[in-house]
């Protein structure tokens, strides 16, 4: 579904953020990307739907080359759902309108159909009653669930999560993770940048560990948590699992 091969990215000639990153996500797979901050994991996931440009290498999403200038990026992105660290709901639109905007303007769905679909998804994330409110009237956890519903409304073939719980108060993390776990169990293809190792243990098929712009470890979940091969991954794990 996602093929990342030999991707290099520089912010400036002397500062390389991604070094020869190669990995893939197959259909139905849940891949967790972790690593210390500044390791390039968010940058890598943003390269997948071309929110970040990269200088060399290739990324294919469902057979379409992301870095080809001829690729219709809006069309490609409409099929790739993305959830951001800071939710990025549109503050001037009601919750339901947040869910309908792209359905109507990008997919060309009728208003009634979009509303029906939006309400179904809001019900699914347990927020049907909030449809007429504005984003700022919701808690962080609720906003992030709306953001997930908004991405799902586009019927994506794959979902990208960029640290979806990092900006949340601790007591709100689980309500968001629960939605993500359900999604994973239903067979959604997912690439998730997160520090939530509990989530990785529960639903991930593979774990990728990144450090200083490189993919250091790329292993099935059991191997990664059982006996990580690299020192850096071991150190990282001991740090975040010791509490």
């Amino acid at each position: 579904m996602i093929e990342i091969s030999h991707v290099n990215k520089w912010y400036s000639p002397s500062f390389q953020v991604l070094t020869d990153c190669t990995t893939s996500v197959t259909k139905g797979e849940v891949v967790v990307v972790c690593g210390p901050s500044g390791s390039g994991k968010s940058t890598l996931i943003k390269c997948v739907n071309a929110l970040e440009p990269f200088q060399s290498g290739d990324i294919l999403v469902d057979g379409t080359k992301v870095n080809d200038p001829k690729t219709n990026l809006p069309k490609l992105r409409s099929r790739v759902g993305m959830v951001f660290q800071h939710f990025e709901l549109f503050p001037h639109l009601k919750i339901i309108d947040n869910l309908c905007l792209a359905q109507e303007k990008v997919l060309g769905r009728g208003h009634d159909k979009s509303v029906t679909k939006g309400m179904q998804l809001l019900e699914r994330v347990g927020l049907k009653e909030q449809a007429q409110k504005f984003p700022a009237q919701l808690s962080g956890g609720q906003q992030q669930r709306v953001a997930i519903a908004r991405a799902l409304a586009m019927d994506p073939i794959v979902m990208l999560f960029d640290e979806p719980t990092s900006a949340l108060d601790p007591e709100m993390v689980s309500e968001v993770l629960d939605v993500m776990v359900d999604l994973a169990r239903e067979g959604m293809t997912m690439m998730v940048v997160t520090h939530e190792m509990g989530f990785a243990r529960k639903v991930a098929n593979r774990v990728i560990f990144m450090d200083r712009g490189e993919i250091v470890e790329d292993a099935p979940k059991e191997d990664f948590f059982g006996k990580p091969r690299s020192d850096r991954a071991q150190k990282f794990l001991s740090k975040i699992l010791s509490h």
């Binding site: 809006p74 992105r77 993305m82 951001f84 800071h86 792209a102 303007k105 700022a136 991405a151």
Partner: protein
């Protein structure tokens, strides 16, 4: 001085002052604000587009307009536009555009420079995550601007935009240099004719002051009503 203050002069001039003068002033203000906003938003988008050449052109235009006194631009334009029209259409004589059209074009072009800077600040006040989220949903650049960025920028900037329009309302009085009968022009004509300078200029000041004050008050009310809940 105020002993022989003649209110009757003002009363008799009222229909002329308002039907002719104020109608012109308000029409010019409204159309110039609308045109300036549209053109100004286009300039702001050019400057933020990331296309170097487009940004440079808009930047030079804005700096140029903001470096000239408005009266000078009004004057210049009035005498220049007929010749530009002649040159563009290849006519044999300078094309007369009329004082209203000329002053309207001038104000739109001049105000666009100021509105564009306001809109630029408004657009830049939107966090980068917003356009990113919009494009991640598949919206094109134009759709992202239209449905996500500009509505928020407008709401954030509306108080400043209206305040600038109040300034514009006052600035329209400068069209007197073209002998146009705007509100101040009308008051001035009556004042000269009847030899009642004190009454007419004082009354004109009171009217400008009152309208501007009410508008400013309205801005504050509006600000509270349309603010995006954050």
């Amino acid at each position: 001085m105020l002993g022989n203050f003649d209110f009757d002069v003002i009363r008799r001039a009222l229909p002329y002052l308002f039907y002719e003068g104020m109608t012109f002033t308000l029409t010019l203000t409204g159309l110039a604000a609308l045109g300036g906003l549209i053109f100004g938003t286009a300039l702001a988008l050019m400057r933020l587009s990331g296309l170097k050449l487009l940004g440079r052109i808009a930047g030079i235009y804005v700096d140029f307009m903001r470096s000239l006194p408005l009266v000078l631009v009004i004057f210049w334009f009035y005498f220049l536009v007929p010749y530009i029209g002649q040159w563009l259409t290849g006519a044999s004589r300078p094309i007369s555009v009329g004082a209203f059209a000329s002053s309207l074009i001038t104000f739109i072009m001049f105000e666009a420079a100021y509105f564009s800077e306001i809109m630029r600040a408004g657009i830049q006040s939107i966090s980068r995550g917003q356009p990113a989220a919009a494009s991640a949903l598949g919206l094109t650049y134009a759709q992202t601007m239209r449905y996500v960025v500009l509505p928020q920028a407008f709401r954030n900037m509306l108080p400043v935009l209206i305040t600038q329009t109040i300034v514009l309302f006052q600035d329209t009085s400068l069209v007197y240099v073209l002998s146009i009968t705007d509100f101040l022009g009308a008051a001035s004509k009556v004042a000269q004719r009847d030899g009642r300078l004190v009454e007419m200029y004082l009354f004109a000041a009171v009217v400008y002051f009152t309208i501007s004050c009410i508008a400013s008050f309205g801005v504050r009310r509006l600000q509270a009503r349309i603010a995006i809940i954050r």
